[in-house]
């Protein structure tokens, strides 16, 4: 629900507009109060507030300003959402300027996470554009003293066809600003055939800057008189300082201070981890000074954390009955004893985000207020944590959002911005905190390590008569509640609760696991390990039955139907289930599409050359992937080709969508080949791209083809859904080429492959 307001005479956008410009705001109620991510991390006030939100403004010179309130980390969202508004406004995109919003709850949700920017704001953007256009038409009618019904628009121009009169948007902006805002019923939204931009897309408004080094990231933020900080964090999560000797550090030229940052009070949430900050004239001096610190730590209870032992515990837990999540029929009585039962354990380790831009933030504390410049996915969370760390009102925290040098979920957690604010208050100067890559790898909010136990009994055709799946992973909610050990429903719903197979007996369970590091969202999150287990296990069953994996999966999906989650906790990524039902028919269609386009029927795997397949719904989007691999005699794995078909409902920006799915397979390649964070004595053992390698140009698919389904369904996510089916299809292809089943990720640590 939204209500558009005329704020032309109020000063919402200070300085951006001259007197007389038309400026519209939207009073906005988020369509769903249940956020698919981060429910525990956000205050109720954030989610429930009714507040003005998006703005469009038209200057007398015809310039149209559109506010981008979501963060740009490479998805092109800063372009795609404003494009929707511009289309309904019938604006000329060349005359549109984008204003990046600061953090402000009046914009509604700004946490650019969970592949939901377009789906949550598509309608609002359309209505806002249409309302402005309606007001311009009323203004034109008054101006020409004709009926509004005789007036229309043509790309930034108002037209009265009967008399041939035309005038620009800018000329009538002041008049339009005095028109009453239309009610929703009065709005005439464009028909799809009239769309100029939606469905056709546009390259990023920042494209040239991105290619010339002129784009400004958080790393590039600068204030006069600012100091640089590098922080030595406790090596073990929850550790505290016993003693510090900073004498040698302070002798380093350019170093000014060594400043303690208090440890967090559990639960950690988005608080700084604590530690010692070395403050200097430039980044390098701060790094050098920090190396000279001598700190004795009290490592606390997590120092016994050992990821090898932990893995064994997870697998053991997964073998015991867990908490029931969903059941169909009666699995206990359906499992026969004997040879028609297959069991398998799947495992995915902790994963790190490692965006190319490490964590960085600039903050200035002045006169009791904070201004921060940060590459953040969630500027309102920046406001919240800075406000609580410094005990100042939330309104006194201004968060400017820079471009992000990658995010992948890490930059939804603003601990690093809080560090800059805390230090600026202590030092009375602007402070820029720069994390090293080592800091980034060692102090991440990792994607959860997970063990999945799978068991199926099959009939004579190899089709399951009973299916049991049990997952165990330390939940993300543990950063908000130290006692949380079970998966929360939003994350179980990421490809686990919603097993789409049409089988008579299904049991879905989850077991407990305590976290010893910070767990967080990473591109496609729990779908990574859930889809890996389900889609690879399905492939195992297909091969065991000597059946084609695509045909087998279609058989398991059964006839097209809407999944029924009556009496099952299924948050559906925070979306209304009536609007975004789980339709197996849509998954079937992308499976058929990818099989067709990849030539699946003619592809026969041979030794050293395999084809793998997987399909998965995540973030309300259906995707199916075929991967081709070649495995050399030396075990080297190449990926000549990947085909992915997707149904993301209405796709606003197809080019950006293709790019996201191309990127997703590269992200997935890193997960399969080498993604693994381990810990010993509570200390993370990886540090940089040498021991936490990510895929390079010579290791990724040579060719990735993306096929987008034409759909009139409401828009769904595109940033994340490419990852889960690729990971599973890649592993299935490796099996097809080698006969070796990948149940433990990554390959680099798997004794069958490493």
């Amino acid at each position: 629900m939204s209500q558009i307001e005329n704020v032309s005479r109020r000063r919402f956008l200070k300085g951006a507009f001259g007197a007389g410009a038309l400026i519209l705001a939207v009073r906005y109620l988020p369509p769903m109060l249940l956020h698919g991510h981060a429910t525990a991390g956000q205050s109720d006030a954030d989610r429930a507030a009714f507040h003005p939100n998006l703005f469009v403004g038209i200057q007398q010179d015809g310039t149209v300003y559109i506010v981008a309130h979501r963060s740009e980390m490479g998805t092109t969202i800063r372009t795609s959402l404003p494009l929707v508004l511009a289309d309904e406004l019938d604006a000329d995109w060349k005359r549109v300027k984008i204003d990046q919003a600061i953090g402000d709850k009046r914009y509604g949700d700004q946490n650019t996470d969970g592949s939901q920017s377009v789906r949550r704001f598509y309608d609002t953007m359309r209505e806002c554009g249409a309302a402005a256009r309606w007001m311009l038409i009323q203004a034109a009618a008054e101006h020409w003293n004709v009926a509004a019904s005789e007036c229309s628009t043509e790309q930034h121009t108002l037209v009265h066809k009967l008399s041939g009169r035309r005038t620009g948007y800018g000329e009538l902006a002041s008049k339009a600003a005095r028109i009453t805002v239309p009610k929703r019923e009065q709005l005439q939204l464009k028909q799809p055939s009239e769309w100029r931009y939606v469905g056709k897309g546009m390259t990023s408004v920042d494209l040239e800057k991105l290619c010339t080094g002129k784009a400004m990231y958080g790393m590039d933020a600068r204030l006069d008189g600012m100091l640089y900080a590098s922080i030595e964090h406790p090596p073990v999560f929850g550790g505290k300082i016993e003693s510090i000797d900073d004498q040698e550090a302070l002798k380093v030229p350019g170093v000014h201070h060594a400043v303690r940052i208090d440890p967090f009070k559990p639960p950690a949430a988005f608080q700084p981890l604590g530690g010692v900050a070395v403050i200097a004239d430039n980044t390098w001096a701060a790094f050098q000074g920090r190396k000279k610190l001598k700190i004795i730590w009290n490592n606390g209870p997590n120092q016994s954390y050992d990821s090898v032992e932990y893995k064994k515990e997870l697998i053991e837990t997964a073998h015991k009955p867990g908490k029931l999540i969903r059941s169909v029929g009666d699995v206990d009585n359906a499992f026969p004893t004997g040879k028609n039962v297959l069991e398998a354990d799947y495992y995915v380790p902790l994963l790190s985000h490692v965006p190319m831009e490490p964590m960085v933030a600039l903050a200035e504390f002045k006169d009791g207020k904070v201004a921060a410049w940060a590459p953040t996915q969630n500027p309102q969370a920046v406001q919240a944590i800075v406000s609580s760390e410094l005990s100042i009102p939330i309104e006194d925290v201004v968060c400017h959002v820079t471009l992000l040098g990658g995010g992948f979920g890490r930059k939804s957690k603003p601990d690093y911005v809080a560090e800059a604010a805390v230090l600026s208050k202590k030092l009375g100067r602007p402070v820029k905190v720069v994390w090293t890559r080592e800091d980034d790898v060692k102090f991440d909010y990792y994607n959860a390590v997970a063990a999945m136990y799978m068991k199926a009994a099959v009939d004579g055709k190899g089709k399951p008569t009973a299916w049991l799946q049990r997952s165990v992973f330390p939940p993300i909610t543990s950063i908000f509640d130290v006692n949380a050990v079970y998966g929360d429903s939003p994350h179980l719903a990421q490809g686990w609760t919603d097993l789409p197979y049409d089988l008579p007996n299904i049991q879905i369970e989850n077991g407990p696991a305590r976290a010893h590091v910070r767990i967080g969202w990473l591109r496609s999150v729990a779908n990574i390990y859930h889809a890996f287990a389900i889609q690879c296990f399905t492939d195992e069953l297909a091969h065991r039955a000597n059946r084609d994996p695509v045909e087998y999966m279609l058989d398991l999906l059964g006839p097209p139907r809407t999944l029924d989650f009556t009496n099952v906790e299924y948050p559906n990524y925070g979306a209304d289930y009536k609007t975004y039902p789980w339709e197996t028919g849509r998954l079937r269609k992308v499976i058929e599409m990818v099989a067709d386009r990849s030539g699946w029927a003619k592809k026969k795997s041979t030794k050293g050359h395999g084809f793998g397949f997987a399909a998965h719904r995540s973030f309300l989007t259906y995707a199916a992937t075929v991967v081709e691999v070649e495995v050399g005699d030396d075990g080297e794995i190449r990926i000549p080709r990947v085909d992915t078909a997707l149904d993301a409902g209405l796709v606003v920006n197809p080019e950006a969508t293709r790019a996201q799915f191309e990127g997703a397979v590269v992200f997935g390649t890193s997960i399969v080949r080498s993604g693994e964070i381990t810990a010993k004595n509570g200390v993370i053992q990886q540090s940089n791209f040498n021991d936490y390698p990510v895929a390079r140009i010579n290791e990724v698919p040579t060719q990735t083809n993306v096929y987008i389904t034409e759909s009139s369904a409401p828009p769904s996510g595109v940033g994340e859904p490419g990852v889960p089916p690729f990971v599973a299809a890649f592993c299935n292809a490796i099996f097809a080429a080698t006969g070796k089943r990948v149940r433990d990720l990554p390959l680099s640590s798997n004794s069958l492959f490493g």
Partner: protein
């Protein structure tokens, strides 16, 4: 005192000669197009040219940059977009864009020594430059497109 040329301008630096060129360029000269990604020459985000060759500025101390001609991404587009930058735009390469300065500077170095690189030559030359967004397929296409334009 270290004397050098950066993007054609004479510069002198009297700070710690062990400071990497990266931080001199970014923090002192405020040329922020060159990026910090790993600090130990593993990712290539910091790639600049020294006397016409691609180097990793994050491990190049100022003492090693003395008397050299340093060129950064800011220099490449100074007189209109370079064919590589045009190709990067045409293929819509960047996602977040953070690594792309380094990618382009590395690609420039490749095309200087090999005007029509094959796929495997591109892979060899570019494998030191990480793109976490995964734009590699487009980087390959853009390099080939630019190679055609330069030749």
């Amino acid at each position: 005192m270290v004397k050098l040329k950066v993007n054609g301008m004479d510069r002198s630096f009297d700070g710690d000669p062990k400071m990497p060129l990266l931080w001199y360029v970014r923090d002192i000269l405020q040329l922020t197009g060159t990026k910090f990604g790993c600090g130990i020459a593993l990712c290539g985000a910091c790639t600049v040219h020294k006397n016409g060759e691609a180097i990793r500025s994050c491990i190049t101390p100022m003492s090693a940059a003395a008397d050299s001609d340093i060129r950064t991404i800011e220099d490449l587009g100074a007189n209109g977009l370079h064919p590589l930058q045009q190709a990067w735009m045409e293929m819509n390469v960047p996602q977040c864009g953070y690594c792309q300065s380094g990618q382009i500077m590395q690609a420039l170095s490749l095309l200087k020594s090999n005007s029509h690189p094959a796929d495997h030559e591109i892979d060899d030359a570019m494998s030191g430059n990480i793109c976490r967004c995964g734009t590699y397929q487009r980087i390959r296409k853009a390099i080939k497109l630019a190679a055609g334009k330069i030749a």
